[in-house]
């Protein structure tokens, strides 16, 4: 090989180039994984629920007159849990999957800064998660409102009128996904059993502490996400009723700070840590 080509090592990569390179490497793996398929199926439950709703509403004896959009609004809590689960699955996999599979060495021996590697992979995880979440939100919204409108109200008014709210929903859920992915990426890079920590954080701390009156809830991302949500559903209704939500500006700043802090923490941890593949040491 080298008789025809004298030693010609590859290009030097800057940090942004390394991040892009890692993103392109990781994206196909994230998109075409079994994990993505399972999450996609779970997300498909929302439009399926919308179909069930339309079916039941079409039965005169059921006497359902509530508009589809109200049910979509009530289902927003489901969407937020879906965001949590997707972030948990995708975020912990960024580093932990490479450690479990003992393939991390192939990545860290490339001329890509470790922090860039982590951020690029996290970006690929977010992209995949964003496709899943957006598909769930948009399909759920469409079937609930457009289906309801065309079948029972004779038009697409509800669908069109509530489109701005859909835009807010998408921004909010995709932003929440980014925040949680950085949190779980840090957990995956730092801890030997990221799933236990992740489940405790996601479905313990974030799901319950966010609704406890007082200052403790300000230590959760869910508190700020709920405060930005245009929907009053489930626990969110209780929060709205007690007027305990944070202001919009405060919420956006807090979420941005959480995202930045955990992204930096994850990158710093990954750059400094030595990863052992001897399972007896974990």
């Amino acid at each position: 090989m080298s008789e025809a080509h004298p030693l010609s090592p590859g290009p030097a990569l800057s940090f942004p180039q390394g991040t892009v390179s890692a993103f392109h490497f990781a994206l196909p793996m994230a998109l075409w994984s079994r994990r993505t398929l399972v999450l996609g199926l779970l997300g498909g439950a929302l439009p399926l629920m919308a179909v069930v709703f339309l079916t039941v509403k079409s039965i005169p004896a059921a006497e359902i007159r509530t508009p589809g959009y109200i049910f979509f609004s009530n289902a927003f809590q489901f969407i937020l849990y879906y965001v949590l689960l997707t972030a948990l699955a995708m975020g912990t996999a960024v580093i932990a999957e490479e450690i479990d599979g003992r393939t991390l060495t192939y990545l860290t021996i490339r001329p890509v800064p470790k922090a860039a590697l982590l951020l690029g992979k996290a970006a690929a995880a977010w992209t995949t998660g964003a496709i899943l979440v957006a598909a769930t939100v948009v399909s759920g919204y469409t079937v609930f409102t457009l289906g309801d409108g065309l079948l029972f109200s004779g038009g697409a008014d509800s669908f069109l009128i509530n489109l701005p709210t859909l835009g807010v929903d998408l921004l909010l859920t995709l932003g929440a996904l980014a925040v949680y992915i950085t949190v779980f990426t840090f957990i995956g890079a730092r801890f030997a059993r990221p799933m236990l920590w992740g489940i405790t954080l996601a479905f313990g701390w974030e799901s319950w502490v966010a609704f406890v009156p007082g200052l403790t809830r300000k230590l959760t991302a869910m508190h700020y996400i709920q405060s930005l949500s245009p929907h009053a559903s489930g626990r969110n209704a209780a929060v709205a009723l007690l007027q305990q939500g944070a202001g919009r500006f405060e919420s956006v700043v807090a979420l941005a700070l959480i995202l930045a802090a955990f992204a930096l923490l994850a990158a710093w941890t990954f750059s400094r840590r030595e990863y052992e593949f001897d399972l007896s040491k974990r």
Partner: protein, 279 residues
């Protein structure tokens, strides 16, 4: 003088029966997990709520002034509900990697190179997880029940609540068996304990959310049968003889549990094979 042959000698004694080979896998798995200090610490912590309740129970039954708490079926049902978190943690920690780990290490051909059947393998793995689930789920409330029977000033408590012990045991065993089969099935569908954990959490939590949503949409309680948590609650209410807020028949909840167990067993039978075909 006769010189004895000190070279290798074949074992000509009796071999353990085929029916007990699963125990080797189970015992090895249990020992391996107990050797992990953090897991052992978590098991001990799982009994902490029971310790607190033991204090409450003692004061209530011995008539300490100011403690007026009826100790009966509801008390023990709540005690079991409190053990739900340790149950989930053990399923995730101990159960999710039981088969996934073997698949990742390509260890199944090693297992089946020995004279064991697939049933031995599955039973052995089942033995590991069900042991720990029984340890953290029915065992603490059962211990509380026995404590109550012991510290009660007379036989009134036992006369009125003798059946509660059987309820604790029956319900606990039912949940442990179905839960064990379920987590093993999920573990057999992944090569990573992490992915099995995500599937488990997703299905358990999402089944509840979807069931609530469907119930809202259809204005019927029937969709609640899709919720793992609601089915557990309904079965618990039935077995402890308590009125239920979940409006589905307990037979339906039991049927769902049996269906989950059957699906899990079918999945395990399909997934556990000595040879892997890479397409």
């Amino acid at each position: 003088m006769p010189i004895h042959d000190l070279s290798y000698r074949h074992w000509d004694g009796p071999l353990r029966g085929a029916g007990s080979r699963w125990r080797v896998i189970a015992e090895a798995g249990i020992r391996l997990l107990l050797a992990r200090r953090r897991f052992a610490a978590m098991l001990m912590l799982a009994w902490a709520p029971a310790l607190v309740q033991a204090g409450i129970l003692y004061f209530a039954l011995t008539g300490v002034q100011g403690v007026d708490l009826p100790i009966g079926a509801q008390f023990f049902q709540i005690s079991m509900a409190i053990q739900f978190l340790p149950l989930v943690l053990v399923m995730v920690w101990a159960g999710s990697g039981l088969i996934a780990g073997d698949l990742a290490a390509q260890a199944l051909p090693l297992y089946f190179a020995k004279p064991i059947t697939r049933l031995d393998y599955i039973a052995g793995k089942f033995g590991v997880i069900v042991f720990f689930l029984l340890l953290v789920y029915p065992a603490p409330p059962l211990a509380l029940f026995l404590l109550a029977a012991g510290v009660a000033p007379d036989l009134t408590f036992l006369a009125q609540n003798w059946w509660v012990g059987f309820s604790i045991l029956g319900y606990g065993v039912l949940v442990a068996v179905i839960g064990s089969l379920f987590i093993l099935a999920l573990s057999s569908m992944a090569r990573s304990a992490r992915i099995a954990s995500v599937m488990f959490v997703g299905l358990v939590i999402f089944s509840d959310m979807l069931a609530n949503l469907a119930s809202l949409v259809t204005r019927s309680d029937l969709p609640l049968a899709f919720s793992a948590a609601k089915n557990m609650e309904r079965l618990a209410d039935a077995m402890f003889g308590l009125p239920s807020s979940v409006g589905i028949p307990w037979g339906l909840s039991l049927g769902v549990g049996v269906l989950v167990a059957v699906w899990s067993a079918w999945t395990l039978a399909r997934r556990i094979r000595p040879v892997e075909i890479v397409s």
